[in-house]
């Protein structure tokens, strides 16, 4: 790793300035469009009962106390639970696909297969949610097929299962991509060595493949979790009255019938802190293993 720039008296000041100048465009963009708005949200969350036109005077934590009402806590827990389930499903479904593309599929097809799997990302997520509506509706494609086969129709729409399906579908390509890039770097010689030493395939998988793929799994899990927590489209379109999530609650606090920008900002701040926590975990546990190789 490059050591931090030590002040070396033999370097001219322009040479020392150069790295920082390179950072200015990106740094400015990051500051103006990410750091400043986040600080503003934190400021807004400290003003109780703020309405447009009010003077912003950070004074109390009242908005944060509103988050600890049972109904809001329930919504936040539901969001976290949905995100964890989505991540689990994405991992279970995505790992075999990534494994197959990276290790078992013919080399010349790898890029094509990956492209095919990632293609849905090229369409708008709103359109994908509407497609799921037309599939999962009570008289939609799924139930039409089921009833033609004389199977009972599924009532999934506007409930949590539909939201789960939509979210898993939306985030699966990300998981597959990340797992693929991690599994691709797998050292196959270790796999062969383990097999040569007599390990059954299950042990090879558990003791050789998974530990090597762990940074990729961590990265994929955390990326999907972070995206799932903030997902608005799938719960809004596919969910019903019993599937209110944090993102929908935020939307209703800013643009809904009972605007409460203070509490909305507090909820945003909470979500930002949650996501930051997840990213910190990723940095701490993700790269360590990569560096040890």
């Amino acid at each position: 790793m490059a050591s931090s720039p030590v002040s070396n008296s033999s370097q001219s000041w322009s040479q020392r300035l150069e790295p920082f100048l390179m950072l200015v465009p990106a740094g400015l963009w990051l500051f103006l469009l990410l750091i400043l708005p986040t600080l503003l949200i934190f400021q807004l969350s400290l003003v109780p009962g703020i309405k447009p036109g009010d003077l912003v005077n950070p004074s109390s934590l009242e908005n944060y106390f509103k988050i600890f009402e049972p109904s809001v806590l329930l919504v936040i827990l539901r969001s976290i639970g949905l995100s964890i389930l989505t991540t689990l499903f994405c991992l279970i479904l995505g790992f075999p696909v990534a494994y197959w593309i990276a290790l078992l599929a013919p080399e010349r097809w790898q890029n094509l297969l990956l492209l095919g799997f990632v293609l849905p990302l090229w369409t708008s997520s709103l359109l994908r949610a509407y497609a799921w509506i037309s599939i999962l509706r009570p008289t939609g494609v799924l139930n039409t097929i089921l009833t033609t086969l004389h199977l009972p129709a599924l009532d999934v729409m506007n409930q949590l299962p539909a939201v789960l399906i939509g979210m898993t579908y939306s985030l699966l390509p990300y998981m597959v991509l990340i797992l693929y890039s991690s599994l691709e770097k797998l050292d196959r010689r270790l796999l062969e060595a383990a097999a040569d030493l007599g390990a059954p395939p299950k042990d090879v998988f558990m003791n050789v493949t998974v530990p090597q793929a762990l940074p990729g799994i961590a990265a994929g899990v955390l990326l999907v979790f972070i995206n799932a927590i903030g997902d608005f489209i799938n719960p809004e379109l596919l969910g019903g009255p019993s599937s209110m999530t944090a993102a929908r609650l935020l939307y209703s606090r800013f643009l809904g019938a009972s605007p409460d920008w203070g509490m909305g900002s507090a909820l945003s701040a909470l979500l930002i802190m949650l996501v930051t926590l997840a990213i910190v975990c990723l940095i701490k546990y993700g790269d360590k293993n990569a560096r040890s190789i």
């Binding site: 447009p52 912003v56 605007p259 790269d287």
Partner: protein, 375 residues
């Protein structure tokens, strides 16, 4: 990536300086910002006199303005009209306060929303000398709970809120709000309610024979509890999404506005619209001129144009809205005049109550129960 940044103890003085600098920077920044005394959504409500006098900007609902109306208006007055759409009063207000307050010369809020706009000091008083045709309006629309004597606006369209149901699936018809509660098992996931706290709590209040503008805390609580009984059986709370689902047969009954029903019933003869007993709400959408309107002249011309009976009649017919213009109604085709969805009978009108703004404590209660209902 330097994992030392996250170690509990800074390893060196450099690390400590880095952390301290970023912390101080963040704090200092927020102090600077709060010291500046910035206002959220800085709305300047003074008159701005720079704007093209040939243009009129409208902020309206999707159903109320179409290309032909704009073309006809241009032919009569020579003004070019640009419209922008919104789909809920709250979003309109949020947009106005977030900086669009100076863009529009005519707004279309709902009646119960006008007091809120007044409180936020966003409306200009109508100069009755510049408005022609106020006498065309039906007497009950010459005043409203939020606006006595058309001081601030002119009504454009009105209607009722009720249930639209599929006659084939519900042959016995719906008479009462309580039908939904009595048959909740049969209607599980086949009914929707509006995504509007006032309307939904209002229908529960009405079904208990209370007023739609109830401010009594116990009665509001009873309405909320009644709704929680129905909630597991409701497919979703939606203001627009039920239309395709009702037409497709996914839904059997949906709560909707009469203006939606007019078009749907024409397309689909299986559907029926009813304002259930003991009553429903009567809504109206008004045209108002904001305080910071860039072109008030054009705004008055627009309002006067729409107050003309022949224009109001053609708009009512083409856009399927119910007009409050008494002199326009005789100009409508007979079948439209007799259509009880658009022009309800006196008996139905007697059952309907118009929504007014509530006291602050009552609003908070409605909000609280709505949030709990939605969770």
């Amino acid at each position: 990536m330097d994992s030392e940044l996250f170690s509990p103890k800074p390893r060196s003085r450099r690390q400590l300086l880095k952390m301290a600098a970023s912390g101080a920077f963040g704090l200092g920044l927020s102090q600077i910002l709060s010291g500046c005394g910035w206002r959220l959504g800085n709305v300047r409500s003074g008159q701005s006199n720079t704007s093209s006098s040939n243009e009129l900007f409208l902020y309206t609902w999707a159903q109320y303005v179409d290309e032909e109306l704009l073309k006809n208006f241009r032919n009569v007055t020579g003004l070019r009209t640009i419209r922008e759409l919104f789909d809920s009063n709250e979003k309109m207000m949020a947009a106005l306060q977030a900086g669009k307050g100076q863009t529009f010369s005519v707004l279309y809020p709902s009646e119960y929303f006008i007091p809120k706009l007044l409180k936020a000091d966003l409306l200009a008083e109508l100069d009755h000398d510049r408005v022609q045709g106020l006498d065309n309006l039906m007497p009950q629309f010459r005043r409203s709970a939020g606006d006595l004597d058309n001081h601030y606006g002119v009504p454009f369209a009105w209607g009722t809120t009720g249930l639209i149901y599929n006659q084939e699936k519900i042959p016995e018809g719906i008479e009462n709000w309580d039908y939904l509660w009595k048959n909740k098992e049969k209607l599980t996931r086949k009914m929707t309610l509006l995504d509007d706290s006032r309307e939904v709590l209002g229908c529960a209040l009405k079904s208990l024979n209370y007023s739609i503008n109830e401010t009594n805390a116990d009665r509001i609580k009873k309405a909320y509890e009644k709704l929680t009984i129905l909630k597991p059986h409701i497919a979703s709370f939606t203001t627009d999404g039920w239309r395709t689902q009702l037409a497709a047969g996914d839904l059997w009954v949906a709560m909707g506005y009469s203006s939606d029903a007019i078009g749907l019933l024409k397309e689909n003869p299986k559907l029926r619209y009813i304002v259930p007993k003991p009553g429903g709400s009567r809504w109206s959408d008004w045209m108002v001129i904001p305080k910071a309107a860039p072109n008030p002249n054009a705004a008055y011309q627009w309002i006067n144009y729409l107050l003309k009976p022949d224009v109001a009649a053609s708009v009512a017919q083409r856009l399927a809205v119910t007009t409050p213009n008494a002199n326009a109604i005789p100009l409508l085709p007979q079948e439209l005049q007799r259509n009880t969805v658009s022009y309800p009978t006196a008996e139905v009108m007697a059952r309907c109550e118009s929504m007014t703004a509530l006291t602050d404590e009552a609003e908070k209660l409605y909000d609280k129960y709505w949030t709990q209902l939605m969770s």
